[in-house]
């Protein structure tokens, strides 16, 4: 499995310019008071860049050769989940460091506690996204996977729009209003635990899809 990590890290060199621009952009937020923006921005970039390695694997029918090498389908799936999650974690950590720098420079009024909460929620949120995007990308291929993800995102947006349009007529359930009273640490813990469960279920689905895949 080490060889797979080495391969994906080597492929990241091709994304050098994008990674550099993302890091430079995040540094601008050292001087701008936007709560933890660089955390979510870089975590998102980390996730997308990690997922892009799937396209490199499958480009020019590369899957046939790749899967003739000494690793199992399960190991490939584990590596991809860890690699993409590593991208999220690295991005969030770098963004966290930038945000702390912003506080230290006196450019941000955000508290350290609030920043940490943003960091945890970003990891959980993008963990959720990873759990959707990896099965789509590995199961349907990067091209189709992207399109399906875009359609799902569109449907969600449409649903939100419709809900907001009719929200005035629909009574908001009491448990939703009570969510505002939930302590922050409970909220962040539930987010992380939820992401962990979603990632586990997603991994099982992806592993099953990949075992049936032909190259």
């Amino acid at each position: 499995m080490k060889g797979l990590f080495i391969k994906d890290l080597a492929l990241l060199k091709n994304q050098g310019k994008i990674i550099f621009i993302a890091l430079v952009l995040s540094l601008i937020y050292l001087f701008v008071d936007v709560e933890g923006f660089s955390i979510t921005f870089l975590a998102l970039m980390g996730m997308l860049i990690g997922i892009s390695t799937i396209a490199y694997d499958e480009n020019d029918n590369g899957g046939a050769y790749l899967f003739s090498m000494p690793f199992t389908v399960k190991q490939y799936c584990i590596e991809k989940y860890l690699f993409v999650f590593g991208g999220i974690l690295f991005g969030a950590l770098f963004g966290y460091a930038v945000s702390i720098g912003s506080i230290l420079l006196g450019k941000s009024g955000v508290t350290y506690a609030s920043l940490f909460e943003t960091f945890i929620v970003a990891i959980g949120l993008f963990g959720f996204m990873e759990s959707f995007l990896l099965p789509l990308n590995l199961g349907f291929g990067p091209e189709k996977g992207r399109n399906i993800a875009a359609v799902i995102a569109g449907l969600i947006l449409a649903a939100v729009f419709l809900f907001r349009s009719f929200a005035g007529n629909i009574p908001v359930p009491e448990f939703i209003t009570k969510l505002q009273d939930v302590p922050d640490f409970v909220f962040t813990t539930v987010t992380i635990a939820g992401a962990a469960v979603m990632l586990t279920v997603s991994f099982i689905i992806t592993n099953t899809i990949m075992r049936k895949k032909e190259f």
Partner: protein, 287 residues
């Protein structure tokens, strides 16, 4: 080393059904036209596609339809070349070396570097910027440098010029000479490559093995008879495997060259090349 029995795989109207064997110490070639099923056979052996029925015994383990999944230990013992699949073009030679080093337990780094030098493979250039020949050489080098016992090579010389092909074939001979029980299963469109390299040949057509013979026998005992219709009417047809109608009469592929030379001294008997035999097997008709 490898034994395949009645392995079947269907793609629409195409159905592959093959049986074959590769014994330790031998080089076995598969030859046939495009779409005959060569790559399908290779991918079935490597479990990259799922056959519908049949058995595959590799290194003494059943890995066919009802068998086990190929484990990493087995994969470590195999070197693979696909003509249309390899490392991402965005990697360079150094990346490939580093990946192989961390992928295979017995990767031979020095040997990899030596081959790259010998075959003029640049280490800092991205694979997508390689010429077709360079890409082919890199694939072969990657397959040969982890002490594999068994090479599965699908068109390894595709896109190479004559000199480069010779270099690759020499390297394959060196590979075989290093250890007695190694073996190679190789496909190629270039029959002369297989003619000079292989111990045995399987000819495949529309998913079926239509001919299996030792290369020596193919070259010594098989022949092409060129006969008029009148001569055709008179000759013994027992050893005619295929015939094809020509302007002058018939072109016949026979197995017993000497028999026809001794008994029919008046007819044209040509020593057949592998290309001639392929032509006859593919385009000829049964007698």
């Amino acid at each position: 080393m490898l034994r395949i029995d009645n392995l079947t795989k269907t793609y629409g109207s195409f159905k592959m059904n093959i049986s074959m064997e590769v014994t330790p110490g031998s080089i076995v070639g598969i030859i046939g036209p495009n779409g005959a099923g060569k790559s399908t056979a290779f991918k079935s052996i490597l479990q990259l596609i799922r056959p519908e029925s049949g058995s595959i015994n590799l290194f003494g383990t059943e890995i066919g339809v009802a068998g086990e999944k190929m484990n990493t230990e087995m994969k470590n013992r195999i070197g693979v070349v696909f003509s249309d699949s390899g490392f991402s073009g965005y990697l360079n030679g150094k990346d490939v070396r580093n990946i192989l080093k961390n992928m295979y337990k017995d990767f031979e780094e020095e040997k990899f570097d030596n081959y790259c030098r010998q075959l003029n493979i640049p280490m800092d250039k991205k694979l997508k910027e390689f010429s077709t020949g360079m890409k082919a050489k890199m694939r072969v080098i990657a397959a040969l440098t982890h002490k594999a016992d068994f090479l599965i090579l699908d068109e390894p010389t595709a896109g190479l010029d004559v000199l480069a092909r010779d270099e690759i074939l020499d390297i394959l001979r060196e590979y075989m000479a290093e250890k007695d029980d190694r073996c190679i299963l190789i496909s190629s469109h270039i029959s002369s490559d297989l003619e000079n390299l292989c111990d045995e040949l399987y000819m495949i057509k529309s998913g079926e093995i239509v001919l299996h013979e030792a290369c020596d026998v193919l070259l010594s005992d098989y022949a092409i008879l060129k006969v008029s219709e009148e001569e055709y009417g008179k000759i013994d047809k027992e050893h005619i495997l295929r015939r094809r109608k020509e302007n002058y009469g018939y072109m016949c592929m026979v197995r017993e060259r000497r028999y026809y030379m001794e008994n029919y001294p008046g007819i044209v008997i040509e020593k057949s090349s592998i290309d001639d035999l392929i032509q006859m097997m593919i385009k000829g008709e049964n007698v």
